[in-house]
Symmetry: C3
């Protein structure tokens, strides 16, 4: 079985205005993530914006996609923290099951 030796973790992805990226990064680290990846200069528009009409359409490349991978017991705290951050700003959150090698890299 080719996935042998891999350990299940949870990938958390957040897309939001780049100005709020530092808050997400800090939350990741304070909530037990041992690393993260950020893709800046992302465009698109938030799901809330569309509901409010095309005026909020935003194709400026001012969004950030932030990614972290954590053990399952860290997911709830991070998701709750992200929801607090994106409550008042445009942002979406996706959670995906992933598998990693070297799980000790993702643990404190």
């Amino acid at each position: 079985m080719s996935w042998e030796g891999l350990t299940r973790m949870t990938k958390i992805e957040v897309v939001l205005d780049g100005e709020h990226a530092p808050a997400v990064r800090d939350l990741f680290l304070q909530s037990g993530a041992t690393g993260y990846t950020a893709v800046d200069g992302v465009s698109g528009f938030g799901h809330r914006g569309y509901h409010q009409g095309r005026l909020l359409f935003n194709d400026r490349a001012s969004l950030s996609l932030l990614i972290t991978v954590v053990p399952e017991d860290r997911v709830e705290g991070i998701v709750e923290g992200i929801l607090r951050i994106i409550e008042d700003v445009h942002g979406v959150l996706f959670v995906t099951e992933v598998h990693v090698s070297r799980p000790e890299y993702f643990l404190h």
Copy 2:
């Protein structure tokens, strides 16, 4: 259980030449997506290109990665539309199960 409160959705990712990104974006929105994310300036080469030989190798950063998240009942229409778009151009399509908070943001 730390995934409590999250709702299953489907993430659709498309990688194709950036000149065709607007067609994909329009398809997403016309097919019921309420938002999308685009990462431009992506490099690589398409799977079809490799089969046709290294002459098509393309490391110019001219590709786009487009991402949307939709309820499952929107997947079929979007996938069919994407396949029509990428039939004649280089492009690949991935579908992944994700979970989101605030599912109402992804619904019309």
Copy 3:
């Protein structure tokens, strides 16, 4: 069922210093991938770095995110090769189940 006609594959994602991206790309192709996508100019810091202290914190946009999608029988060889590459450098590897249309594009 809206995922009808899609074929299960495995997405392999690697984040590491951009200077090592060509080695990963070559490994992908030598190990049976028929294509890949690279997002350069990514920032963040590796999980190993954090353990070694904040001095290694790295927010320079010098990382690359490399993505490929392969049939399951290619996963083991690619994962082993990636682990050899990232043994001595900062890097993380994620494996995710995805579904694709046109599976023949991902096969030699």
